[in-house]
């Protein structure tokens, strides 16, 4: 299949950048979206043009590095799918595809389609951990956890930190990511001790990074490759209210 691509090109963080048109020729239906870009890049390299820079690592949907806005959707048109797992059979011969980087003040573009997502790391450093004295590993059955709690905590922990929630949110809000992280700890006994200061610190850091405020659009949930539910946002709001009232 042959495609027309409009790709965001930007030399570095300071460059203004622009959308450039490229032809993708003889693309195989079985390729992933990133493999399609690899093919385009091969061509560009042969022509002596700087290849399109994009983030990726595992290419199996677990690392959260791939991050492309495809035709106005974070991670493209398929539900619960990262770009690296998106196959070209979901497109038709002759399609025009717009490829843009995540857009948020807190995620500055560093080159082409690559953005700096270290704001997420700083939110995690603010409270996304459990403080323990590391010793020998405790027995697995020393700390009983109800199955229902473990399941919900696991749903929250499925977040891979890709940032699609921020990219798809009309307010560039990071609530889905932060709420998944807050919930994953709050639901387990190990995270219980620090739950109040955790939610306050992580939200304070989220605000400081310049993410927007949630207005309950729920676009994040629709874009999330791990189908993190907006119920975690409600949970974080509750955690935050409880922490505030407790003071």
């Amino acid at each position: 299949m042959n495609l027309t691509l409009y790709v965001w090109r930007q030399k570095d963080a300071e460059d203004k950048g622009s959308l450039e048109k490229y032809d993708a020729r003889d693309i195989n239906h079985h390729m992933s979206f990133l493999e399609m870009l690899d093919v385009v890049n091969e061509g560009l390299i042969q022509e002596g043009v700087d290849p399109i820079a994009f983030d990726h690592d595992c290419r199996e949907g677990i690392c959260g590095m791939c991050s492309l806005m495809i035709n106005g959707r974070a991670h493209g048109p398929e539900k619960a799918t990262t770009v690296c797992q998106l196959h070209m059979r979901h497109f038709k011969d002759g399609d025009t595809i717009y490829i843009e980087p995540w857009r948020a003040k807190a995620f500055p573009v560093t080159k082409d389609l690559i953005v700096d997502r270290s704001a997420f790391d700083r939110v995690m450093q603010a409270g996304g951990f459990v403080s323990v004295n590391t010793g020998g590993a405790p027995d697995a059955n020393a700390l009983p956890i109800p199955k229902a709690n473990a399941d919900v905590a696991f749903d929250a922990a499925a977040c891979i930190g890709c940032g699609a929630c921020v990219a798809s949110c009309k307010n560039a809000s990071a609530m889905l990511f932060v709420s998944a992280k807050v919930s994953q700890f709050a639901l387990l006994p190990q995270g219980h001790a620090e739950r109040k200061q955790r939610v306050e610190k992580m939200i304070a850091q989220m605000d400081e990074e310049g993410f927007g405020n949630c207005t309950n659009y729920y676009e994040c949930e629709a874009a999330c490759p791990k189908e993190i539910s907006v119920r975690f946002i409600a949970k974080m709001n509750r955690e935050y209210l409880m922490a505030t009232i407790a003071k």
């Binding site: 409009y6 959308l19 806005m69 035709n71 106005g72 959707r73 717009y98 843009e100 857009r103 948020a104 003040k105 807190a106 603010a126 409270g127 403080s131 798809s168 009309k170 307010n171 560039a172 809000s173 620090e194 109040k196 200061q197 306050e200 610190k201 939200i203 304070a204 850091q205 989220m206 605000d207 310049g210 993410f211 927007g212 405020n213 949630c214 207005t215 309950n216 659009y217 729920y218 676009e219 949930e221 629709a222 874009a223 539910s229 907006v230 119920r231 946002i233 409600a234 949970k235 974080m236 709001n237 509750r238 955690e239 935050y240 209210l241 505030t244 003071k247």
Partner: protein, 234 residues
Amino acid sequence: MTTSQASVSFTTASVGKKVLMAITGICLIGFLIVHLIGNLQLFIGQEQLNKYAETLQSLGGLKWGFRLFMLVLAVIHVWKGVVLWLENRRARPIGYHREDTVQASLSSRTMIYTGLLIFAFVVYHLLHFTLIVTNPEYAQLKDSVGRVDVYSMVITGFSNYAIAIAYLIAMFLLAYHLSHASESFFQTMGWANDKYLPKLKILSNLFAIVIFIGYASMPIAVLLNIVKLPGGGN
């Protein structure tokens, strides 16, 4: 470990602002319900509505306390709404060339616009029926026992097509605001979950429809001559 250095003031933190919007919003909704029940006495008749209005007016200090409370609620709600909106625009300084919307409702995406239009309407409504500035002739209306004739004032007011239509449009915008607002309230307060959220969406829309029908019934009844001036004329 101290918590103080990280805990930004509740009222300026993102989630705190949302909670303020939600609490002031739900109080305003409470007022809307009470106000609607009061107003629907129009259908019982002149005697009932005018007596009710006179009772409210006679509350004196309580009345002013209540008005002040409503003003504070409205100011916080509008102010935080505008701040949220401005901050959210700043959070994405460079937009997309192509941007899709998957599940955000149109009502959720137009909250600031419906909100500001409702605000403009509330100002007009107060000037029209409460302070009687826009139609000073209403001030002369008195009923047979010498009370302010709120009944005739409302009917005279809605007999004017332009005014009645303006009220109907405003009520539609209000209902549209509420269809997202009531559901949003539960999410913001942390009371929504997977089980309830879909039901809340439906209930929120139903509630908005009830509010619309309730308020719209009055100008419509006047336009259709279902409620008439005491003399029978219109």
